[in-house]
Every structure is written in structure tokens, then in C-alpha cells.
């Protein structure tokens, strides 16, 4: 085996790759080759580092230097300065905005300071396409331990003791789920990995599969052993080509190394994994819908019970766990439930990965201990709101999560607490909004998504969400009434308690939470026909700011409906009756004399 004195880790996740990540790798290799260091320096493509805001990211070991926003053209300088001369490329270091200092190491950066990486432990560290690197990080050691030292019951008990809960959104006890499937005796059982990450804003499952696919395979094998299955499936959306590719490579390598296949670790345990592709429907993240889709049927949920643990894939006992849940399993086995339980809050143990997005300075993928407050995540890790704007709301849990206000930011993040305050853990999406966001419009936006993604099976979700959406459209168009607000609430609450699956049971959350926390904003829309954030186009009112108007006549000339009048060098006037609020005047005005 070759020994290298230094490693250049380059993020090869989807985000960084789309920003010429591949070219960076090629260029670095070229420069190293040119400098004749190719026997000493290794370029390693890794999974996602999480700090996507500042991507593409590279990290140089052993000195642990973290470079951000790297371009292929920087490769030369990195090699010449850092590698050859041992000097830092200052301009590529992260500058801490508060102290205005360039930081070399990840651990010093506020984005990483409060993070605890368990599920993402290998992302950004190892080459996901090389099983040896996974093994070097204790990979497949947990599986070995389980198969050679532990009974099925012991594995289940250990996972139960860890109090690990489903990271896909439901928060159901993983160990208990395994136990239920274990208890249902059948000659054929299945274990399924739910990699149908349907929340458009979340990408932790994709990142784990892209950055550390073996951890999922290992955990699936452990779960399969525990429940008594010998066949596993990864249900993944076809729109994740890189994750699929890395998973396939991992599966092949695992087979080659004997971690998949027959007589694993020389025991009687056999286990194989197959990939099933999803077409990208949001509802297929729901386990019964996922199983229907796996069977080639329409992706729609069934009434539960029976639960998959009893009757799942082809009516056989089936255990469905999410990618992130699986990624937690090997460390739990190796380090024990006590270690895991000391992280997190009373009822939610361990960590949770969030996809932090929206109007926050540091967009990216973060893994934080349960119990951390929303404020810490948004302001410490996220670096606060962009462009110095004011925080308005944060939405957690994906498209059907609720929007939470400033007053709720000191709430610790855990399953129960988020549900209690009207949102949910969900997939781990976290979208931050600022004062420029109209909450009515936000609710409308999410409803549009869930309405379209509803499978259409049950009445409340199929028609109820449509009606909710229609009422919201009406309000944003200035045609809403106070009665509409009551109807929204009543209908939303009913949809929640009477829909068939989790999609419908949570889809009204954005409406209900914004109604609760931003009622005044709704009132402004229906009573004063005014959108305080100026987002709802139909409610925009264009007016001349008299003190700024010089009477240049430009606005009158660009107005497509000729509703602006005024003489040269005199203050102009907009006929509100005829104005279509297209904004052409405002755009044209050079004197900031048009307000809306």
C-alpha cells in the first residue's frame, strides 16, 4: 500500500460537483503530477462537508486546512503555495464575519463548532468509492461484532436501549420497529432502506449515500440479521444518480469483500441488497406507499394497520428505515447505547442532520445534537440572517412543517417539542425566512407543493388541500375575507386529523402555523388588502413619492396601460383604478420616486 505524506480531500458531493468539483480534482492531480509529488500527495474525492454555502470545499491533511470556494484555476496556487512552500493560501481560507479573521481549521469555524457528526462522520473524510477507507474508519466492524458475538435479541435490545428514533420524520423507535418485525415469524422477511428523500430542500440522505454508502449497507445488514431477513432493498429516487452510482460501487465492493452475500463473516447469515428506483413522488417516502411503489404499484399509502412489520413487501414482514437512521447504527453498536444516549435531549437521543437553507448566511448540511435550540442553529451555525435583514420565521420539517417565530427560537429541537409548537422534525429541512417574506405567500407556496404531491387517495388530502390552496390564492389576490381565515383553520385542522397518511396529516401545518403566529399579516391581507412584505403582486400599490419626482415623464412613457399622467417637470400621478401593478414604472424611474 502506498504511503502518502499528505491528502487533499475534495468534496465530490452533488453540490460541489456541480460547481466544477470534478475539474478541481483533475486540475489538482495535474499540478501535483507536474510538481512531481504524485507519489507523496494523494487527491481524494470525498462526500459532502456540509458547508455548501462556501463550496466547492477542499481540505488538506494532515494539517487540517480548510479551503472554501475553490475554483479549478486555484489548483496551481494551492499546490505551489500550500503543498510545495507550506504556506496557506490566505484568500481561500474562511473569514469569520464577526472577528474578521481567516480561520484555517474546521473546528474553529462557527459553522462547525456546535456540530456533532455521527451520521455524517465519514462524509468529507473518506473516499466513498473505496471500501478500504471505510474499513480504516472501523467500517464493517459493527457488523462483525453483531454477527459473531451477539444474538438477534441482543442487537434489538441494544438498539432499543440507545433510544434511536426514526430520522425520516416519524420518530418511531428504531429498536422497537426491529423488534416488531423480528416477532412476526415468516420464512421470508425484508429490510428496506428508505432513500426517497422527498423534501425538495433536504439532502442529508443523498449526502450520506454519496459520502458514506457503506455505513448504510452495513447497518442494513445488521438490521437484517436482527429481524431475520436475508434480503434488503434500497428504495431511491432515480433523480439521485450520483448516490445511486456510489451505492452500486459500494455494493459491488462489499460483495467482493464478503460483507454482502453468503456466509458473511463465516456465519450462517446471508444477505443481499437490491436497488429499487422511485420516480420521485413525495408521498413515496411514506412506508406503505414506498412498498406499493416497490411492488410496481401506484405509489400511494395503505391504511395502517397492518403495519409493514406485519405485512409489507409482497405481504411479508418488512422493516423500513431511513438512510440517516441507518447511518447511526454502526457507531451505536460499536460505542454502545450509553454513549449515544448521553447526546441529545430527554426523549430524543443522538443527533439530527438538518439541511439549513433560506435567508441564512451559512447554507448547508449540519448535524447537531438533539436539544440544541433553533436560535443556536440559525444564528450560531447559520451565521444569522443574510444582508443584515431581520429574522421572521423558520420552517422545519420539510414542505409540511410549520413556520415558527422569533419568540419560539429558544425552544430546543426534539421530536415532541417541535410538534408541540406546531411544526415537526420531519425530514430535517430547515428554511429560514426574513422580513421580506410574506407568510401568506409562504403558506400558499407549500400548499401548492403538497397539493400536487398528494397521491389523491383520500378525500381530505386530495380535495381539502386543493381548497386550502384556493383560499390562500384568493387571499394573496386581495379577494379574501375574514371568514376565509376561519375556514382555513377549520379545514386545515380537519385535514390533519382525518387524512390517511402522514402527508395529509401534516400538509396543513404551514397554513395553521402561519395563521397562528402571523395572524396579523393575514388580517392585513384580507382587511386592508395589503401585503406588508410587498410580495403579493396583486396587493402591490404603486405610488409616486412626491418629494422625489422630478417630472421626467419616463414612467408615463413606459407604463403599458397609460395610467400615469403629469406634465414635464411636474409631479406625476398614478391612476390606481387602471394600474395593473406591473412595476415597469418603478423599474424605469431613476429618482426612486415610485414606491410600492
Amino acid at each position: 500500500m502506498k504511503q502518502y505524506r499528505s491528502h487533499i480531500l475534495v468534496c465530490a458531493g452533488t453540490g460541489c460537483q456541480s460547481q466544477e468539483g470534478h475539474e478541481i480534482i483533475e486540475e489538482l492531480k495535474k499540478q501535483i503530477e507536474k510538481a512531481n509529488f504524485h507519489n507523496e500527495i494523494q487527491v481524494v474525492k470525498t462526500g459532502c462537508f456540509g458547508f455548501c454555502e462556501k463550496g466547492p470545499i477542499i481540505k488538506i491533511l494532515p494539517e487540517n486546512v480548510f479551503y472554501i470556494e475553490v475554483k479549478p484555476s486555484d489548483a496551481k496556487e494551492i499546490v505551489e503555495e500550500h503543498i510545495i512552500k507550506g504556506r496557506r493560501v490566505q484568500r481561500l481560507l474562511y473569514e469569520e464575519p464577526n472577528i474578521h479573521e481567516r480561520l484555517e481549521q474546521q473546528k474553529d469555524m462557527p459553522f462547525y463548532k456546535k456540530q456533532v457528526r455521527i451520521a455524517l462522520r465519514n462524509c468529507g473524510l473518506i473516499d466513498p468509492e473505496n471500501i478500504k477507507e471505510y474499513i480504516a474508519e472501523d467500517g464493517y466492524m459493527a457488523l462483525g461484532k453483531v454477527l459473531t458475538e451477539m444474538s438477534q435479541e441482543e442487537v434489538i435490545q441494544l438498539v432499543r436501549d440507545s433510544e434511536l428514533r426514526g430520522r425520516g420524520g416519524g420518530g418511531f423507535s428504531t429498536g422497537f420497529k426491529w423488534e416488531l418485525t423480528y416477532r412476526n415469524k415468516d420464512d421470508q422477511k425484508y429490510i428496506v432502506c428508505n432513500a426517497d428523500e422527498g423534501d425538495p430542500g433536504a439532502f442529508m440522505d443523498r449526502s450520506i449515500l454519496e459520502g458514506d454508502p457503506h455505513s448504510v449497507l452495513e447497518a442494513m445488514a445488521i438490521g437484517a440479521y436482527a429481524i431475520g431477513a436475508n434480503k434488503g432493498f434500497v428504495y431511491i429516487r432515480a433523480e439521485y444518480p450520483l448516490a445511486i452510482q456510489r451505492l452500486k460501487i459500494a455494493m459491488e465492493q462489499a460483495k467482493e469483500y464478503g460483507f454482502l452475500g453468503r456466509n458473511i463473516f463465516g456465519t450462517n447469515f446471508h444477505f443481499d441488497v437490491e436497488i429499487k428506483y422511485g420516480a420521485g413522488a413525495f408521498v413515496c417516502g411514506e412506508e406503505t406507499a414506498l412498498i406499493n411503489s416497490m411492488e410496481g404499484g401506484r405509489g400511494e399509502p395503505n391504511a395502517k394497520p397492518p403495519f409493514p412489520a406485519e405485512s409489507g413487501f409482497w405481504n411479508k414482514p418488512t422493516c423500513v428505515n431511513n438512510v440517516e437512521t441507518y447511518a447511526n447504527i454502526p457507531p451505536i453498536i460499536l460505542k454502545g447505547p450509553k454513549w449515544f444516549k448521553q447526546i441529545g435531549s430527554e426523549k430524543s437521543k443522538g443527533t439530527k442532520v438538518f439541511a439549513l437553507a433560506g435567508k441564512v448566511n451559512n447554507v448547508g448540511l449540519i448535524e447537531v445534537p438533539m436539544g440544541i435550540t433553533l436560535r443556536e442553529v440559525i444564528f450560531d451555525i447559520g451565521g444569522g440572517i443574510r444582508n443584515g435583514r431581520k429574522f421572521k420565521a423558520v420552517q422545519t420539517g420539510g414542505p409540511s412543517g410549520g413556520c415558527l417565530t422569533e419568540a419560539l427560537l429558544d425552544n430546543p429541537i426534539d421530536y415532541e417539542n417541535l410538534t408541540r409548537i406546531g411544526s415537526m422534525m420531519g425530514s430535517g429541512g430547515m428554511i429560514v425566512m426574513d422580513e421580506d417574506d410574506c407568510m401568506v405567500n409562504i403558506a400558499k407556496f407549500y400548499l401548492e407543493f403538497t397539493e400536487e404531491e398528494s397521491c389523491g387517495k383520500c378525500t381530505p388530502c386530495r380535495i381539502g388541500n386543493k381548497r386550502l390552496h384556493e383560499i390562500l390564492i384568493k387571499i394573496t389576490e386581495g379577494k379574501g375575507t375574514k371568514q376565509d381565515l376561519e375556514d382555513l383553520k377549520k379545514l386545515g385542522e380537519m385535514i390533519k386529523i382525518s387524512s390517511l397518511c402522514g402527508l395529509g396529516q401534516s400538509s396543513p401545518n404551514p397554513v395553521l402555523s402561519t395563521l397562528k403566529y402571523f395572524y396579523d399579516e393575514y388580517l392585513q391581507h384580507v382587511e386592508n388588502k395589503h401585503c406588508p412584505s410587498g410580495v403579493c403582486a396583486a396587493l402591490k400599490k404603486h405610488e409616486i413619492v412626491e418629494e422625489n419626482c422630478v417630472g421626467c415623464t419616463l414612467c408615463a412613457r413606459v407604463c403599458p396601460v397609460d395610467c400615469i399622467s403629469g406634465k414635464v417637470k411636474e409631479v406625476h400621478n398614478i391612476d390606481q383604478e387602471r394600474c395593473i401593478n406591473c412595476g415597469a414604472c418603478k423599474e424605469a424611474c431613476k429618482f426612486n420616486a415610485i414606491a410600492n
Binding site: G456, K457, K466
Partner: protein
């Protein structure tokens, strides 16, 4: 575990019920009515729709934050259920109001007016306004087929049709398409029904709670024919009509209304009122001869009955390699039509071109069957118009006939004499029993003392019996419901089938449960009562074997010659064509 009882509380009252019950079953037993819509449980016919999609039967279960659908929620010991809380009532009402907000309100002129389960539910819940209004579905009406009309604007996505089509009939034509608000039910790629392998069994129509799936209405055509002085309009009624028609005039299920039906048809103005049973007796003559021929001359076995057009269509589309197994006999009403336009026309001296044959059938597939070109005689359809039991009742009502007060009248002759054998054609097991009543005597030259073959009767989806004839065991199979038929066909295909003859009817229960019958609204007792009535009608008949029907004997003697003979072949037999499966 069996016979285990579970104690639970419903609306404050404790009740003990079998463990396998759902909350709905338990509530029903406790005398608590929970409205349902998508739910359907034809227990004895093994058709259960438990999609829990309409969310009408929502109840509160103590300890659960969300409401639960009573129809699909299993019971637990100590469960506390409330069906009458404001929360449950509001949710129920909301579900119905939402459905109505996306449903046409043309109830007054709707084909299902007063038969619609959504309408009944809205009435029951006293819905007086639809709170949430908005966009409604606008899809194209599918009138492509001869048999059924698909109006997705009226679909409430109960998915009963899918259960019938996929699980019971295994035809796989109907499925939910699109998603969200635009979800609809249709064939793959939303093809017109005519371009699919639909058999038109009509079980989807039979279970549809609204008018999303209905039969093609041919009543106006019948009125036109009756009002056309140049036409000699004759009518024939299938065996299963007489035991079901009464239901549409508030009579109990299983009432036999043969006499009143004949009377009503005369009043409607038909020139002759005949009985398809005559055609059934004729079918037996041909089919029994064909069976004997196949048995004695090493022909293709087993022989399958061919009376059911949905079944014929099923084998053509789904088992195109097996189209040589069904009997080549045309179905009874087509045989009857043929004889009407040949033998009868000659006998009554009427130009066949002027004869209009109307069939009253329990079936919508018969509509499509009548249009099959291979069944035509000299380019003329043997049967011109087919209407269902329901359409006939509509005509009687429209004509202002007080059905219940009608006197009993008898069918016209010479094609009016029928036997007990032909009347049981309307139930599963009946065709093969009728065949055996004749084949037995022909093969043994002995008198059959007991014409009732009990072993062929019943409701089990697949039944089998062995009838010893001349020291040889004749193995008989019976299947009703196309899913059951599929099982028998798979065995034939793989060479495992031991049967000599198999009777297949597409509809669960046979024609008594046909897609054109009065709606059973999920009550399978109705279908059973019709079966009992048919056997009763058989018992009351003086002649109970087809070959002893005097008018049939006369028909062969004076016109057709020998059963399965040259003319019989030309007039009464057909062929089947392998078709694509879509």
C-alpha cells in the same frame, strides 16, 4: 385465537365482539350507525373494498390524536370509541362536503338519481350548503364502448371499481391515474375503454356508488323501435331478470315476477314477449351434444361454457392461446335472436329485416356482445338492442305502469316454452347442471331420477364435482368471478386440469349478480335471494330438462335438423379470436 372475543366501548356502551371485527362491524353489531361511502363488503362473494379513502366513517378512538376510519380499523381489547362527538361528526361532514364540492350537482337528471350513494349520504347528513367551493374536475366523458359510460367527473375515488376489476376479476383495466386533485380512475394511459381488454363484465358498474360508471343507456332506442310502425319488435328476457326486477318496485329481494314482467312488456307495446330460457334450452341441446362429441371423439377437453360474453372476451384477451377450449355455442340470447329472424320469421311470415329483437339482460357485456360482427347472420345483428334489468324498470316506470298491480301473463309461443334447466342458467352452476341433466340421459339412455345436482350448487368461487356416467367419472369444474376463472385457466394452460367440462360465469354469483342488475348496494344477501328464487322457479317447472322442451323438439324436427348438425352449426355456433391484452 379463533372465536376469541374482545370487549370494547362504543359511545359509552360496552360490547363484546369477535376479535376479527373492525370498528365498523362492532358498531353495527352495537346498533350504532356509522355512515360509509367507499367501504364495500360483499362477504360471501369475497369482494371487500377496504381502501379507507373517503374518510366518511371517521370515529374517535380514545388515546389517539387523529380520527380513525371505522371500516379499516381493527379492534383491540378495551378500545373506547366515540362515533357521535362533534369532532367525528364534523370530519364526516367535511369529507362529504369536500366530495360534493368536486362533484356535479346535476342529480335531477343523473342516471343514478335516487340510486346514488353519495346523494343518499348527503341527504342523511342533511348537507344544505357546500362550504368549500372551488375548481371541479373536468374530464372527457368516455362513451367509446357499447357497454359502459365512464364519467370521471362523478368519481369519488372510492376505488371499488378497481377492487372489482383487479382483485376480483383480475382484468387489470382500471387504475388510479394522475395525482393530487387531478387523480382519476381509468385504463393505462387513460385510453378509451373500447381500446382496452375490458370484458364489460360490469362489476365496476355494479359497485360504483355514483354515476361515474354506468351502462350505456339504450332505452331511447327501444322506445324508437316500439314507436316505429314498420318494425315488428320482439323482446326476450334472460332468466335472471325475473328474480331481480321486483326489487326496483319495492318488492323483497328474491321475489319472482315472471308473470308481471311479461304483462308489463306487453303493455309497453312489444309485438311478442319471449323468454331467453328458450334460447338456453337450445344452447343445452347444442352444448350437450358438443360435449358428448368431444368426450367420445377425443375432442379438446375440458370444454368450457360460452354463454357469458364477458368470459368469452376475457379468454380472448387474457388467454388467446386457449380460444379452442370454450364451446362454440353462441350465447342463449344470440341463439334466440337468430332463431327469431329465421325460424320464427318464416313461421309467422314476417320479413326478418323488419324484426327488431330486444334482449333484457342482467348484463352490460351483452350490449357489446350483440354488436360482435362474427355473431351476425347475413350482416344483420341477431339481437338489435340490449337493455338491462335497470333500464327495463326505468321504461316500466316511465310508461306509468303500476307494476305491482299487474296480472300474471304467460310468454308468447312458439318460442315461449321453457324448462327448469334453462331458468337456472341465471346462477353460477346452473348452466353446467342443465347440461348434465341432458347429457346424462343422452349418454346413458336412462331416465335421470333426480335432476338436482346439489354438488354443483353453492356460492364458493371455485367448485368441483364428479358425476359418474356409464361407469366413467365426468369431472366438472365451476368458477364464477373472472379471478377464479383465471385459476382454472392457468391449470388448463399448464396441463394440470383434470376436468371434462367447466362452467364459467364472469360475475360473482353468475347472472344474478350481473352488472345490469338492480344495485345491491353492498348487500350480498340480495344476490343469494335471487339464486334461491331461481332454484324455486326451476322446482315449479313441469319440464326440467332442455331436451324435453316440446317447442325445442319441434324446432329441430321441422327446421334445424340434428343438434350440432349442419344448419345448427351455421346458425348457432361461432368462433373466437385471439386478441391483444391492453
Amino acid at each position: 385465537m379463533k372465536n376469541e372475543k374482545v370487549k370494547l366501548t362504543i359511545n359509552g356502551a360496552e360490547i363484546e365482539v369477535p376479535r376479527e371485527y373492525t370498528v365498523l362491524d362492532a358498531a353495527t353489531e352495537a346498533g350504532v350507525h356509522i355512515p360509509t361511502l367507499c367501504h364495500l363488503d360483499l362477504h360471501d362473494l369475497k369482494m371487500v373494498n377496504r381502501t379507507a379513502s373517503c374518510r366518511v366513517c371517521m370515529v374517535e378512538v380514545e388515546g389517539k390524536p387523529n380520527l380513525a376510519p371505522a371500516c379499516a380499523t381493527p379492534i383491540n381489547d378495551g378500545m373506547i370509541i366515540s362515533t357521535d362527538t362533534i369532532k367525528a361528526i364534523n370530519a364526516r361532514r367535511m369529507a362529504v362536503e369536500l366530495l360534493l364540492s368536486n362533484h356535479p350537482t346535476d342529480c335531477l337528471i343523473c342516471q343514478k338519481n335516487l340510486q346514488c350513494e353519495l346523494q343518499t349520504l348527503a341527504h342523511r347528513l342533511s348537507v344544505r350548503e357546500i362550504k368549500y367551493t372551488g375548481e371541479a374536475m373536468t374530464t372527457h366523458l368516455d362513451t367509446s364502448s357499447q357497454s359502459l359510460v365512464k364519467n370521471q367527473n362523478k368519481c369519488i375515488l372510492c376505488r371499488r371499481c378497481e377492487t372489482a376489476c383487479n382483485e376480483i376479476q383480475t382484468c387489470g383495466i382500471l387504475t388510479a391515474l394522475n395525482r393530487g386533485f387531478h387523480t382519476t380512475v381509468g385504463p393505462a394511459f387513460n385510453l378509451p375503454m373500447q381500446e382496452t381488454s375490458c370484458t364489460y363484465c360490469g362489476q365496476c358498474v355494479a359497485v360504483c356508488p355514483t354515476a361515474a360508471l354506468t351502462e350505456v343507456n339504450h332505452v331511447p332506442k327501444v322506445w324508437d323501435a316500439l314507436n316505429n310502425e314498420d318494425k315488428y319488435v320482439i323482446v326476450q328476457t334472460a332468466p335472471a331478470i325475473r328474480v331481480a326486477l321486483g326489487e326496483l318496485f319495492d318488492m323483497e329481494a328474491g321475489s319472482i315476477v315472471t308473470g308481471k314482467m311479461v304483462s308489463a312488456l306487453r303493455k309497453l307495446g312489444f309485438d311478442k314477449v319471449f323468454d331467453t330460457d328458450f334460447g338456453a334450452d337450445l344452447t343445452i341441446m347444442e352444448e350437450a351434444t358438443e360435449l358428448i362429441d368431444r368426450l367420445e371423439n377425443g375432442g379438446r377437453l375440458p370444454m368450457l361454457t360460452s354463454c357469458c360474453p364477458a368470459w368469452v372476451s376475457f379468454i380472448e384477451h387474457q388467454f388467446p392461446d386457449l380460444v379452442d377450449v370454450p364451446s362454440t355455442c353462441k350465447s342463449p340470447h344470440i341463439m334466440f335472436g337468430t332463431i327469431s329472424k329465421t325460424y320464427m320469421a318464416e313461421k309467422l311470415n314476417i320479413d326478418p329485416q323488419k324484426i327488431t329483437v330486444v334482449s333484457i339482460m342482467p348484463c352490460i357485456a351483452k350490449k357489446a356482445e350483440a354488436a360482435r360482427t362474427e355473431l351476425a347472420l347475413d350482416d344483420d345483428n341477431n339481437v338489435d338492442i340490449v337493455i338491462t334489468t335497470r333500464e327495463l324498470a326505468a321504461m316500466i316506470k316511465e310508461a306509468g305502469i303500476d307494476f305491482n298491480k299487474l296480472p300474471d301473463e304467460d310468454f308468447d309461443h312458439p318460442l315461449g316454452e321453457t324448462t327448469g334447466a334453462s331458468v337456472i342458467f341465471g346462477t353460477t352452476g346452473g348452466v353446467i347442471e342443465a347440461t348434465m341433466r341432458t347429457a346424462y340421459e343422452w349418454l346413458t339412455n336412462e331416465k335421470l331420477e333426480n335432476v338436482e345436482f346439489d354438488q354443483l350448487r353453492g356460492f364458493e368461487g371455485i367448485r368441483e364435482a364428479t358425476v359418474p356416467i356409464n361407469g366413467k367419472d365426468i369431472h366438472i369444474g365451476i368458477a364464477h368471478g373472472l379471478g377464479n376463472a383465471r385459476q382454472l385457466l392457468e391449470d388448463i394452460r399448464s396441463g394440470k386440469s383434470q376436468y371434462h367440462a367447466i362452467e364459467i360465469m364472469a360475475c360473482p354469483g353468475g347472472c344474478i349478480g350481473g352488472g345490469g342488475q338492480p344495485y345491491h348496494h353492498g348487500n350480498d344477501v340480495v344476490v343469494k335471494k335471487r339464486q334461491e328464487a331461481l332454484y324455486k322457479e326451476d322446482k315449479n317447472k313441469e319440464v326440467r330438462q332442455s331436451h324435453k322442451n316440446k317447442e325445442i323438439i319441434e324446432l329441430y324436427d321441422s327446421y334445424l335438423g340434428k343438434p350440432y348438425g349442419e344448419l345448427a352449426h351455421k346458425l348457432l355456433h361461432t368462433k373466437y379470436t385471439p386478441k391483444e391484452r391492453i
